[in-house]
Subunit: 309 residues, 2 copies
Amino acid sequence: MRIIVLGSAAGGGYPQWNCNSEYCRLARNDSTRAFPRTQSSLAVTADGSRYLLLNCSPDLRQQLNQTEPLHPREGLRSSPVKAVVLTNGDVDHIAGLLTMRESEPFSIYASARVHRILTTNSIFNVLNPEYVRRHTIALSAPFRPEDAHGRPLGLEVEAFAVPGKVALFLEDASRGGDFGTEEGDTVGLHVRSPESGASFHYIPGCAGLTDSLRQRLDGSGLLFFDGTLFRDDEMITMGVGKKTGRRMGHISMNGEDGSLAAFRDLCIDRKIFIHINNTNPVLVENSPERKIVEQAGWTVSRDGQVIDL
Amino acid sequence: MRIIVLGSAAGGGYPQWNCNSEYCRLARNDSTRAFPRTQSSLAVTADGSRYLLLNCSPDLRQQLNQTEPLHPREGLRSSPVKAVVLTNGDVDHIAGLLTMRESEPFSIYASARVHRILTTNSIFNVLNPEYVRRHTIALSAPFRPEDAHGRPLGLEVEAFAVPGKVALFLEDASRGGDFGTEEGDTVGLHVRSPESGASFHYIPGCAGLTDSLRQRLDGSGLLFFDGTLFRDDEMITMGVGKKTGRRMGHISMNGEDGSLAAFRDLCIDRKIFIHINNTNPVLVENSPERKIVEQAGWTVSRDGQVIDL
């Protein structure tokens, strides 16, 4: 199984279009100190030729252009991308579907809640049902993703609920502190090669670690995990926003309630932060915060990173 | 007045994600013979610091990253982009609005028909009305675009109806050969600097030249015009699609009904094709078709091109 990190940043990417912070200026002006990053997505293949996307970012066209194994190779129109799994309905995870128009057969796997976003937004009708098959996935029920013609890609995926929040544009303040969030709004994925037995977990958005989630992840060989913020209030203290990480549905790295502490006693071979917000100091090479996460046994993902399992 | 071509390709861009044609392979492998192009959009400024976007393509984040004058410069969060005018509701002209989330004040100008697409697709609710002002424009009624705080950008814009087609994802086959197209679905723009008197026309989508459109454009100093296809049936003969240009709402360059013939007797100082589809042979430098359009007095736009008027 091969994993390609197509994008490692959170919504807005790094740099973000309207952000003039020190970190974003660094990404524009000195990419040796801070690598620019597109929005969060992985490509996975079991056979080296047919790929499954985990999330579909607004930067997808750029990501595909930059990733030679994902260029079309067969006939006049084709793509190595055969299927997509969505972990939630946020813009940074679904807008890339608009790039995947142009009558190309592929399959979309998502929860009923996320599919509802696609069906109630007519703009996604550019995905012609003659070509694009939409599959509803159930939580905690492993499935084998297929291309649009029903051919399995040689991977098994299990989606499981994680603490999270409904997509920003669907928040309903009248429904209390969780803004109308329901099960299936945010999922994590366990991706496995039934042939080799290799597997990994992908959780780009997660509001906190429950006991059942800890049990599920303990013993994992590889984990990509929500690295949105370093400090829960960093957007507020930097003066770029009004929301805490908690309000946005993301656990932060630092602090007693943070992910570094939460994972300390779990046995996971390789822990990689992904979905990193442009305010997170771990984006800066050799920053004190980068050193803290590395000393805690984590690495910070980069666009174009390739991992073979 | 300064114009920056942010993107010069039609929907899908060049190369298109799933296109393995000779032309798209050329754009991937030999950019000296065929420059890659992102999807159609212009940035215009009267004062050199505040910009108006004409359309907002899915490639907007990449376009802004590549265009230094559009990087934020003031405070922690800001953008030189102060307003957007939309000429229709196609994905290649509106999806970039999803990049312009993140609580940045700006104004959107569009016809009532195009605004309806934004309001009926909840994903565009990421554009918080606290920051983003939506103005409905009337046809043939010049207006002066303002930033979100009501400060005029020093430009005057007139939108006028051109023959076209409703957005693909809203086509209604039950409503006959025009698929439910109504006035305001596709407009052209006349952009003028009231201070200098300089002006140009921008018509990235147009199904044909009516007499009134010919009269309007005769005498123009600069025209950006729909260069989607060279031949009306080129997508069919290349084997990459089932539709003619006419069916998609685009006049082609070639032939008796084509734009080269239609503009032959009009007096226009500078004629530039934009919104060029990846099947159009004029994308290839020195192709016979490129020579034909150049001999007819046209040029083919490129991303990053700057024109001062």
